[in-house]
């Protein structure tokens, strides 16, 4: 019995150490970017590992915000995230609720039609030509409408709605609600955990959207942060970035890159704790049933 207890202790110690190490490894690159973005550029170029900022400066951030195109790009990204998420959520709830009713004629067939799109799709080119023929090229709509509904999220919603007791609907009817009232006054409020979770999924997908933006948008006025970020981080060298800026700070190119990462991640990361209360519960429900 004693041996067992010691073994168990060693197991725990090893486990906690491994987990702590992993967590640090996973968060460190991002932390390093965050800290370096507010450190003096010449220090960053030395390439040392840094845990805290040195010679604190926000010059990289002011430079970014003074770049003519940046504010427009930031607005575009916020726009497609807020409006796009709203459209996605509305359409998803409206579609999934009826599909969850087994008594509804045709519901099963239609649910299968939705499910099927997860397994087989037309692919890149037909989708591209479709968006083109709908006249959506180079508009922000092309970043919100063609991918408005995620079939997997519909499946999660359907299975969640099926777990709700039917008496809820009956009680709504007795109180004089029609289906519209039942859905939005009863079903949606009690489904908040799953709705918050899916809202988070949609919002993150919209904010981080890159492929569609590269395919459909060529006018710099309609760029999103991800497209701008790619040019800055991957296509251009630090010196080229610095040369494109009017600011005259030595070696600023490298911290501008880092600050750009921060500006394009922190807003969406802020949504996470805000929704986390519901989210932990919603994710459990969604994954167990889905």
């Amino acid at each position: 019995m004693k041996k067992l207890r010691f073994g168990s202790f060693a197991f725990d110690a090893g486990n906690y150490a491994a987990l702590a190490l992993l967590a640090v490894l996973m968060i460190f690159p991002f932390w390093n970017v965050l800290v370096s973005s507010i450190t003096a550029p010449h220090l960053v170029l030395e390439g040392a590992i840094r845990l805290w900022p040195e010679q604190l400066t926000f010059v990289a951030f002011t430079t970014i915000f003074n770049t003519p195109n940046f504010v427009k790009v930031f607005q575009n990204t916020v726009f497609i995230t807020v409006i796009g998420t709203f459209i996605s959520m509305l359409l998803s709830v409206l579609l999934a609720y009826p599909l969850s009713k087994k008594r509804l004629a045709g519901a099963n067939a239609m649910a299968f039609a939705v499910f099927f799109t997860m397994m087989f799709s037309g692919g890149i080119i037909p989708s591209y030509l479709l968006v083109k023929s709908l006249g959506m090229m180079n508009t922000l709509w092309s970043l919100m409408i063609p991918n408005a509904i995620n079939a997997f999220n519909i499946m999660i919603l359907i299975s969640f709605f099926r777990t709700l007791p039917e008496e809820l609907e009956d009680s709504g009817r007795i109180d004089g609600c029609n289906d519209f009232g039942i859905l939005f006054r009863i079903m949606v409020p009690i489904s908040m955990p799953i709705i918050a979770t899916l809202t988070l999924f949609y919002a993150v997908a919209q904010w981080n959207m890159f492929f569609q933006a590269v395919m459909y948008i060529s006018n710099p006025n309609n760029y999103t942060l991800q497209v701008l970020l790619r040019q800055l981080l991957i296509v251009l060298t630090s010196d080229a970035v610095a040369a494109s800026l009017s600011e005259d700070v030595p070696r600023i190119g490298v911290t501008v890159k880092l600050a750009m990462i921060v500006v394009s991640t922190v807003p969406i990361l802020l949504v996470y704790p805000f929704l986390q209360k519901h989210f932990a519960k919603g994710m459990m429900l969604g994954s167990v049933k889905g």
Binding site: Y16, L22, V24, M26, F30, T117, I124, I125, I145, N208
Partner: protein
Amino acid sequence: MTDKDVQRIAPNLRTVPGAGSSAQLQLRLAKVWKFRWLYLFMLPGLVYFFIFKYVPLWGLIMAFKNYQPYQGLMKSEWVGFAHFERLFGMADFWMLFRNTIILGLYNLLVFFPITILLALLLNEARREMFKRFVQTLIYVPHFLSWVVIVGISYVLLTTEGGIINELLKALGMEQVEFLTSTTAFRPLIVLQMIWKDAGWGTIIFLAALAGVNLHLYEAAKIDGANRLQQLWHITLPSIRSVIVILFILRLGSFLDLGFEQIFLMLNAVNREVGEVFDTYVYRVGLQQGQFSYSTAVGLFKSVVGLILVLIANKVAKWFGEEGIY
């Protein structure tokens, strides 16, 4: 049948009771009328799926035509399987095939087991606070975009002052051009996948693990099983179904490697190990304008993918699991 049709027909039918052979139809229509709101709710979503998911399926016929944008899809000439013959006859086909399969295997055999392992470790961490804290940290990278993940990798790995190369220099080793290396490409892709999504991937396993009956562990302890034995004989078997289902799903999307990630990591030097079907379709189709040929490549990929799902699902059923449909 749309809601409007129902509105038009159903009330009339109700005023003509028992119209002989149409009695059943009448009953059905009355039922549809009763649920008219629900059908109305569905309408926008169904229209969405029709236009954006099913119309592109119709567009697939251009894989068998020589699509000319000015002629339109219908008038373009049929060419049968010519595009497929070109694909299979091409030397690059085997490169694409090999790259896709190898990256898929990395994903299935390295990334997937690591998420399971991570979930098991987290499940064994009994201190709630610690567990919650670690979870919060390892979920964060999931919320970063691929542009950010690849961008940070560039910042860390570049030879112009990236931390990793500075470290190598400090240790007296030679600097490595990770970003243009053909040998580093695949390991880098997998490392990025692990960094971004391994933590997130644990959620579904942890949810399944939360349902394990704790009495089983009590019983095992009485039988003298140590922690590792408990893990092996109780914890793992209890999430077997989830593992099988996720394995099927992953196998089904075996060819759908993250387009964005690979696209962002590709450059002229590593193309020979990194180009996969999706990036090839993008390059040849959208950048070079060979719409029909690239659609054929995409269709080939989709069909193989579908076959893989069907096979995986069958196999799962043989093993007595539920499968995904």
